[in-house]
């Protein structure tokens, strides 16, 4: 993250052009540039383009959130504000419709279980791989990176096949979903923690060893505290990633009771006959994600306070997996 250079650039145009003109007055006099030739002028076209993109990317979501509060059934004509699809409707609200709140609970359950299993697994994997350095560790590092780029559908087919043909004692449903999601997400903590390990270097651990710490003590009392921002950022990413996930849970869910929100939206919308209750559960999940992201952001800033290069930009980048 080039935080300092980036903030500097925002201020530099006037400084640079002013300084340049001051030092080389005769040149400036001889060849006065028209404003559109000034290489430091503001990029108005790019700024307009960026705003158009932001409007295009955010307004549709805003409208979908808005229509979850619609009084009527329509998702395209505003009929007044109500909480009908959240609370009051006796059948089709998130509160009273079992399908809807079951889906919300299932999504949260999957996110929680997956995060709790994946993060320790991925962190230990990363520490081991980073220090082990054998042919085995290199191969599985490769497998881990491969699992990061393989298209989700192909991996989903593989999981579906293995659970239906080989691991038949694990029935399709919540546990199959959790196991699939664990593998699909293990690369987040692994990649992020390895990156952090590389930047930490071996010196802290060596110092701990010189001072008499055993290897496990060094990991527990020196390495893990240093890794905690990375571990935390990866937990946020895994949690939000599971909320977002669709393919694996779609292929591995067996019945309505193991359908999370994403699958419910998909299977209900496909029939064409959907009401604002879908917008309502989607909105609830949106707020869960945003709360997780916001908490993650502030916690990350707090954990990295006082570190070189720490700042709002770096924290934002890290919890988005950059």
């Amino acid at each position: 993250m080039a935080v300092d250079s980036a903030t500097r650039v925002g201020d530099s145009p006037s400084v640079a052009s002013g300084g340049g003109a001051g030092n080389a007055l005769p040149v400036a006099k001889r060849r006065r540039r028209p404003p559109w030739r000034n290489p430091w002028r503001h990029a108005w076209f790019l700024e307009g383009f960026t705003w158009l993109y932001l409007i295009w990317s955010i307004v549709p979501i805003g409208l979908a959130v808005l229509f979850s509060f619609n009084k009527g059934k329509s998702q395209s004509a505003w009929q007044g504000f109500s909480l009908r699809w959240y609370i009051t409707d006796p059948v089709n609200s998130v509160l009273h419709g079992a399908v809807y709140h079951q889906a919300v609970i299932q999504t949260l359950r999957l996110s929680f279980l997956t995060t709790v299993i994946t993060v320790p697994l991925g962190v230990a994997f990363a520490i081991g791989i980073n220090r082990w350095r054998t042919r085995t560790s290199a191969s599985f590092n490769f497998v881990m990176i491969l699992s990061f780029v393989v298209p989700e559908l192909i991996f989903g087919v593989a999981l579906f096949s293995v659970f239906s043909q080989l691991y038949t004692n694990i029935k399709l449903g919540t546990w199959a979903e959790v196991l699939g999601l664990v593998v699909w997400n293990i690369s987040w903590p692994a990649i992020i923690v390895v990156a952090r390990l590389v930047s930490i270097g071996p010196s802290f651990e060596e110092a701990a060893a010189d001072l008499g710490a055993s290897r496990f003590e060094a990991v527990r009392r020196v390495l893990l505290p240093l890794l905690s921002p990375a571990i935390f950022a990866s937990a946020v990413l895994v949690f939000a990633g599971v909320i977002d996930d669709f393919v694996i849970v779609d292929l591995l869910s067996s019945s309505a009771s193991s359908q999370p929100v994403s699958v419910l939206i998909y299977s209900t919308t496909r029939g064409g006959n959907n009401g604002p209750a879908l917008n309502a559960i989607a909105t609830i999940m949106l707020f869960v994600s945003l709360i997780v992201a916001t908490l993650g952001y502030f916690a990350y800033r707090w954990m990295t306070r006082g570190e070189r290069g720490a700042g709002s930009e770096g924290a934002l980048a890290n919890i988005a997996g950059m």
Partner: protein
């Protein structure tokens, strides 16, 4: 969707030989301990990543019993190519339906990834270089859609594109069309729009992280040395971001190749169906699992060079950083 930003992934490949600091008392014991750390992760990857792919091969190379359920050929000596040749006939033979679908998939994915790039690049470029003090604001807005689930984003467009939705209302009121257009009734343009809208956050994150790492002094030097803005871009920024662009294209194109839900939600018509829809359909039809497995293996083989290129890039980036 963990296919996102794999920029810190480059660090993960830093499996470079350990620095030869002298403090390696009983080195063998040390390695053994680190192996213990990564053992659970390695076991998970074997059981739930490597084995599943072997099961896919066994099913694709196997047969069906009289109840139409697959009989996997566990022993490589018993593998048969029947399902593969059936797929091959559907790919190129008479009345082939996989071939055209495959071509259509590639066309959609190429157009959609390029559109993602054309929209995301100027935006990311503006925010890294020109946003100045507002950089954090822009960054928040840019990564906001990353925290909104894919299904919610599709739902938003389904609302907008309905025959009585806002897009049609606007088009009719502006007299661009006299009749509302049935956007969700099988338009290639709608599917491509959905793909672009769905995958562009990942492209943005990759491009932002990549462009932000470019040394701003090099770009400033271009201006100082008299290049105009366009030539500064084509001579300095663009060459320096070539690898970032490739990563961004792969990170959007690879999951798009296995996408079936975007299409199903926004079109659900055979005339726009993609390869993912075929695989998804075969998976949920009794007796077609072997063919679905064979088809996803073929897709994997086709995509393997792209995946290999990505992994190679990752290792190369790690070498450069080391």
């Amino acid at each position: 969707m963990s296919q996102a930003a794999g920029t810190s992934i480059s660090e993960a490949a830093k499996a470079a030989p350990e620095s030869k600091t002298g403090k390696t008392r009983n080195r063998r014991e040390q390695k053994w301990v680190w192996g213990l750390f990564s053992a659970p992760g390695i076991a998970t990857l074997i059981l739930l990543f490597v084995v599943p792919f072997y099961v896919v091969i066994a099913i694709a190379a196997g047969t069906l019993d009289i109840f139409e359920s697959p009989v996997p050929a566990w022993n490589p000596l018993h593998w048969s190519g029947a399902n593969f040749s059936a797929i091959f006939h559907d790919l190129v033979g008479q009345g082939a339906f996989i071939g055209p679908t495959f071509v259509r998939t590639v066309v959609y994915v190429v157009i959609a990834s390029l559109l993602c790039l054309l929209i995301a690049y100027p935006t990311a470029y503006f925010v890294t270089r020109w946003a100045g003090r507002r950089k954090v604001l822009f960054l928040v807005l840019l990564i906001a859609p990353f925290w909104v689930s894919y299904m919610m984003r599709m739902l938003a467009w389904i609302d907008l594109l309905q025959t009585d939705g806002y897009i049609n209302k606007a088009l009719v009121n502006l007299h661009i069309t006299s009749q509302p257009i049935d956007w969700l009734g099988g338009h290639a343009s709608t599917v491509i729009l959905g793909l672009v809208y769905g995958y562009i956050p990942y492209m943005i994150i990759v491009l932002y992280a990549g462009l932000d790492r470019i040394d701003q002094r090099l770009i400033e030097a271009g201006g100082d040395l008299g290049l105009n803005r366009w030539r500064t871009f084509t001579r300095i920024t663009l060459p320096l971001s070539r690898q970032t662009i490739m990563t961004g294209l792969l990170i959007t194109a690879l999951p798009m190749m296995g996408d079936y839900f975007t299409n199903q939600l926004l079109s659900a018509t055979p005339s726009t169906s993609m390869i993912g829809n075929l695989i998804d359909g075969q998976l949920s039809t009794p007796g077609l699992l072997p063919q679905g497995s064979a088809l996803s293996l073929l897709l994997l083989v086709v995509l393997l060079p792209l995946m290999a290129y990505y992994v190679y890039q990752t290792y190369a980036a790690a070498d450069r950083a080391a």
